[in-house]
Symmetry: C2
């Protein structure tokens, strides 16, 4: 079965849009999607020397308009008032904890966090709000809050971010099939054709 | 008739790819494309505070691979060995001069410059090479070389760049229809649907 590695950050509305669209494509084609967390902040600021999109003149204003337009283009719900800047660490750590502690729950948790933040106006920068979302899936609040404060979980997320950078991933969403990297939700048609045709 | 404003910089391989694709779409639909020069260097470095893509860690390597793959996806010729960094001022000034001096020749000149640089391995950073391309279209070499050294032509290009920034254009290629801005050659399917449906 073809596996698509999907590199995401909860902070990116484009990664949220890409997460919905890549799962649709995978469902249609019988492919699987492996979600891989990365942190745009660390990669962009520290490795690439760039600033965050909302802080970039011209591009920040464009992105705000574009993300809503892109969501409508894809037919994916998106609250245009969703908070653009928040700390995704609690949610990202919870995800890597679940990858080990309850692997079958990791992806449903990520989907629920994306939806809570980008559709329902709930601030996923708050650890307690992240725990609320997890509780809705039957994941213990205390276990989650303890886990995301623990050093092994912090280390595991750091390792995931390092692995993504080592693979050449620099933005979210990024989709990787074999050695081929596609950056951007708008490149999903290219990814789909690449897998379908075996490359060109 | 629907007019698409196409903001381009000779230095951008993605703008070159976008120029071919937008003209194909326009020809198919009976729309017109108005080419508008901008300078990525001025906009990105001075206004946005970013560095050039080839100088950006991770993204630079990706872009090199991606531009060739994207060209094959579109079926547009591109020489992967074409020089990535060059000074586009001579070509851009020649373009704004032609917009006034011989408007019907401006777009064919830009297409020829793109093709010479990105397909034929000719360095369009050299004013004399730009003049050679122009001569192939029957544009006098001396007239062109004099024009691009003149203050009014320099001022006109600066005005074009200022106008693009005032319109919110920050990258190349950018496509504008009415008030709607689409950045990136990969957004042309969205632009096409936008015009077709009157927006969404």
């Amino acid at each position: 079965m073809t596996t698509i590695d999907f590199y995401f950050d909860f902070i990116s509305p484009y990664a949220y849009l890409g997460s919905v669209e890549v799962e649709r494509i995978a469902a249609r084609r019988g492919w699987s999607v492996r979600w891989q967390p990365m942190l745009l902040g660390i990669t962009m600021f520290k490795v690439m020397g760039l600033k965050a999109v909302p802080d970039t003149p011209l591009k920040g204003a464009y992105a705000l308009h574009d993300m809503a337009r892109f969501a409508r283009f894809l037919g994916v719900p998106l609250d245009p008032m969703a908070k653009l800047q928040f700390n995704p660490l609690a949610a990202a750590r919870a995800f890597v904890w679940l990858q080990i502690a309850a692997p079958e729950r990791a992806k449903p948790f990520a989907i629920a966090v994306y939806s809570a933040h980008w559709c329902d106006g709930r601030d996923m920068g708050e650890a307690t709000a992240v725990a609320d979302v997890a509780a809705g899936l039957g994941i213990g609040r205390t276990a989650l809050l303890d886990a995301i404060a623990s050093q092994p979980v912090k280390d595991r997320l750091r390792q995931s971010v390092d692995d993504s950078i080592a693979r050449g991933v620099f933005g979210a969403p990024t989709f990787v099939v074999g050695q081929e990297i596609f950056w951007g939700a708008d490149r999903l048609p290219q990814l789909e054709r690449w897998i379908e045709t075996g490359g060109w």
